[in-house]
């Protein structure tokens, strides 16, 4: 199967602010592949390197060594991002724009024609249930509405790969359900979804494959069932893989 997303011995080092360390290693030789059409969960505790991996894939941060490819194109080329959609963890958009204007802006960046944008924008607003608030400035939106607007802008170019950084973070149960439904719908359309999350329950229910990263190292990768193994749940498997020792309850 062709790998839509691929990293080869990806290493990222930062200059450390701590006295004793010259550099801090955020990623240590990460080898990862995501295949077309699958929903891939990228898991790890806080500070494991998930967001750093996404930053490298999106071209925000150059790797210290190694390489990363999207659709076979080096991530440092802007054209690599033509077929992806990205939803960051904390989403804030131009507060003075309305949702419609925001989508029109991003459509223009992707080079969509006016007619195509006119067709696509109402579809997306309906998908994320923002059609009633399309003409209101984003500064008047709730957190959930802003997240949905973010999802809409990530889908504006009908991407083949969707990169989502904790898409259900800060959402209420209804909001999380809507996001899961959208991910499922995208999967049914043959899109590839690569997302990170702390909600292992929804990862278990939505993902085809998962990878677990800890302290910059890839600890496990494979189908959900394979990673879970003999453990009762993905969560227990996760805790065991990252080396967490449960304290006895007295």
């Amino acid at each position: 199967m062709t790998a839509i997303l691929r990293t080869e011995k990806l290493r990222v080092e930062y200059r450390s602010r701590e006295m004793r360390q010259a550099t801090k290693v955020a990623l240590q030789g990460l080898d990862l592949e995501v295949h077309a059409g699958e929903v891939f969960g990228f898991l790890g505790p806080n500070g494991a390197g998930k967001t750093t991996t996404m930053n490298v894939l999106l071209g925000f941060v150059p790797p210290t060594s190694g390489a990363a490819y999207l659709f076979g194109i080096d991530v440092r080329q802007p054209i690599a991002r033509q077929r992806i959609g990205y939803l960051p963890e904390l989403t804030y958009y131009y507060k003075f724009l309305t949702a419609e204007e925001l989508l029109r802006f991003y459509a223009k960046i992707f080079g969509l024609s006016r007619s195509e944008a006119d067709r696509r924008i109402p579809e997306l607003l309906k998908l994320v249930e923002l059609e009633h608030a399309a003409k209101r400035p984003i500064k008047s939106y709730s957190k959930g509405m802003q997240q949905r607007a973010g999802l809409a802008q990530a889908l504006i170019n009908n991407p083949d790969l969707l990169v989502l950084d904790e898409p259900t973070s800060g959402l209420d149960p209804l909001g999380r359900m809507k996001v899961r439904e959208i991910i499922q719908r995208l999967k049914n359309e043959g899109k590839t979804v690569f997302f990170s999350s702390h909600e292992l329950g929804e990862v278990e229910s939505v993902c085809d494959r998962v990878a677990i990263i800890h302290q910059g190292e890839l600890k496990a990768v494979g189908r959900v069932a394979d990673v879970t193994g003999n453990h009762a749940s993905l969560e227990k498997a996760f805790l065991q893989i990252i080396g967490y020792q449960m304290q006895p309850v007295s």
Binding site: P78, F96, K108
Partner: protein, 258 residues
């Protein structure tokens, strides 16, 4: 190019949806109307003092709009985290910088159009004449000067951490250039080496923004500048805009965005 114009469009939208421009415009109108209502020896034809006050306010307001609008572009994108979804699109950093520059510059142009129309109406109300070509030359040179200022402020926004420090430094530099740049070579001659060489080099290196200040010519109804010198001044401005933009692109390329 669509990318660049898309980014520029957002900047212009931001300008007319913020209150800054309207406040400055209204304050300018109020001050000018107040000055126009002053009785000076019962002579209703005196107009040059009014033109001077109006043009001074236009220059101050346009510089405030240019510097403050530009100084907050990249820092606000970074602070509001709108930079990440933007750069996740097929938009290079160079395109982003150029788009921001174009947006700020066009926004300044729109501001100037409004101000100069008001200025023309105000002076025509007393002078009963419309020296349109003179106003065109003055406005065009003013706009190109603001282009240099915008490019400089954009570079500053990438170098300095806070928009406030960038704005302050820009205002100080611009004020210094407008008041003293023309005479720096004379000042250099009064100094001893090596300061003389430093100041003399600075004289040739800095963009001479005072070249674009045609206020005295407009106020006192001097004839038009020759078009060849006008064209050369525009080219001079474009050169400095290019220098600052290239520097800004180089700095932004090396900056982390997260």
């Amino acid at each position: 190019m669509n990318n660049i114009f898309a980014v520029a469009g957002v900047v212009i939208k931001e300008l007319y949806r913020r209150k800054d421009f309207y406040v400055l415009f209204i304050v300018t109108i109020l001050i000018c109307v107040m000055m126009a209502s002053v009785n000076i020896y019962n002579d209703a034809h005196i107009v040059r003092y009014l033109k001077e006050i109006c043009l001074l306010l236009i220059w101050i307001c346009s510089l405030v709009v240019a510097v403050t609008t530009t100084a907050r572009q990249i820092p606000a994108e970074r602070e509001n985290r709108t930079l990440l979804p933007l750069l996740a699109k097929p938009l290079t950093r160079v395109q982003l910088i150029v788009g921001k520059f174009l947006g700020c510059w066009l926004a300044c142009g729109l501001t100037l159009v409004c101000f100069y129309i008001f200025f023309g109406a105000l002076s025509a109300s007393r002078e009963h004449q419309w020296p349109l070509m003179n106003y065109f030359q003055a406005a065009m040179l003013h706009w190109f000067m603001l282009g240099i200022v915008v490019a400089m402020a954009l570079l500053g926004s990438l170098v300095f951490a806070a928009p406030s420090s960038n704005s302050t430094i820009c205002f100080v530099i611009i004020g210094g250039i407008l008041f003293a740049a023309r005479h720096l070579d004379q000042v250099a001659l009064t100094l001893r080496e090596p300061l003389r060489t430093v100041v003399y080099s600075l004289y040739f290196a800095i963009p001479h923004l005072e070249l674009f200040d045609l206020r005295d010519l407009v106020i006192h109804n001097w004839p038009l500048i020759e078009w060849k010198y006008f064209g050369l001044a525009l080219l001079y401005a474009l050169f400095y805009m290019g220098v600052f933009l290239v520097a800004a692109c180089q700095v932004f390329r090396r900056k982390a965005v997260n």
